[in-house]
Symmetry: C2
Subunit: 239 residues, 2 copies
Amino acid sequence: MATGMLLWREISQSLERRILARELAPGDKLPTEDELSRQFMVNRHTVRRALSDLQEKGIVESTQGRGSYVRRPSAPMRLQKRPRFTDHVRERGRTPRTQTLKLQVRPADSRVAAELGLRAGQPMIYLERQRFVDDEPTGLSQHHFSHDRFPTFIEMYRSRGTITQTLIDSGVLDYTRRRTAISARLPTVHEAELLHVPRHVPLLVHRYLNIDSLGRPLEYGISRSTTEVEIDFPEPDRD
Amino acid sequence: MATGMLLWREISQSLERRILARELAPGDKLPTEDELSRQFMVNRHTVRRALSDLQEKGIVESTQGRGSYVRRPSAPMRLQKRPRFTDHVRERGRTPRTQTLKLQVRPADSRVAAELGLRAGQPMIYLERQRFVDDEPTGLSQHHFSHDRFPTFIEMYRSRGTITQTLIDSGVLDYTRRRTAISARLPTVHEAELLHVPRHVPLLVHRYLNIDSLGRPLEYGISRSTTEVEIDFPEPDRD
DNA sequence: GGGTATTTGTTCGTATGTATT
DNA sequence: TAATACATACGAACAAATACC
């Protein structure tokens, strides 16, 4: 050895240079691991380490049985403090779409119960959705509401198709975000598949609480996406 | 096999359960890889895969020649108009420390210049710092100020040791956060070393602009840490 | 739809280098 | 200096997902 440089890193950087130089363009298929290990005259494990590094950086994406491909860069979407997903997307001339994955009543776990002011085990509405922009998957979300407060939520949501409209028709004319906690983690296999990102691209996880105009907790949500967030503090306040 | 479950995942989850159950407490040393491979009766590589998984999740930390340790969890950082790191840490009964890594005058690049209302190439104060909580590294930050506005910043900061005091003594009695953009990415090698995290634990990157009481841009900063962020919206606003 | 080849994913084994104690 | 423990790399085999005919 004694090159002063890790083998796999050399390979990773060599491939990255070729990608940045557009020698390998977005969407292109990389040589197979076997082929690369012959080209670089190293063990396949070493190639795999290099590819794993490029996956972490979000530069390439590998799928079992398919191969490794150069990822297409996605335009970072900016979220606002009070998100109206569809409006926000349409303002930028793109087409939003929301798909419902799950909609059911289930007992609240202690975490969600505490947030919604319920007792653990009480029934809650659980709604899971996926968002798309121009048919590219961009986000996953889980929504929780008190079933006691919205006993007909499921039927109403099914016919109306949006949370906002369902709430309005349930008598909640307005609601706002009370608090959001943001953390980052790597996606699960499932999330990576749905969001069409490699497992090594970090997700931003939002855990938020929405309240009604009286300040009562209304919805507890968890959303995951890769998009950057921006927070504005419009007018400096004095305390 | 036919367990329906990946070996390394089983091991990773087993270890994670023991850690969550406080059987292995934060700061504790995990058994060596050899020991674990004997306990679980698998190859050391399989143990290493499991440990790598726990590192990605930020639960354990491994160092060559030292062993693997359970990482200490950190409390969420609150995103406010007036971020006060030291107060916030002390409120939780822990000891904050800030170390200056770099302090110099350098020409502003176009990005920072635009944020601070300068022209590219104009001199700016560049300050790089590292934050610790209980001597555990928790964050890295880069701060940018106009050199024309604060010509004696470097000497003042050296003697006072804090940004806030330096600004006060420069006539800026109050300043607030105007905007923060948050994104996630994997750390560079350098960042991973300084922050004492594995390369696979995502960092939250904050890019923010602070303004003075007249609304003029004062400081452009970039901070990187693994700690969760919490944002409160005390009074719901109408738009 | 089915069978086969291709390709990545997982796991075992082994050897050697390097940092810490 | 020696022992311990993690890091890197190579080799081999099989599993699992995908693509192709």
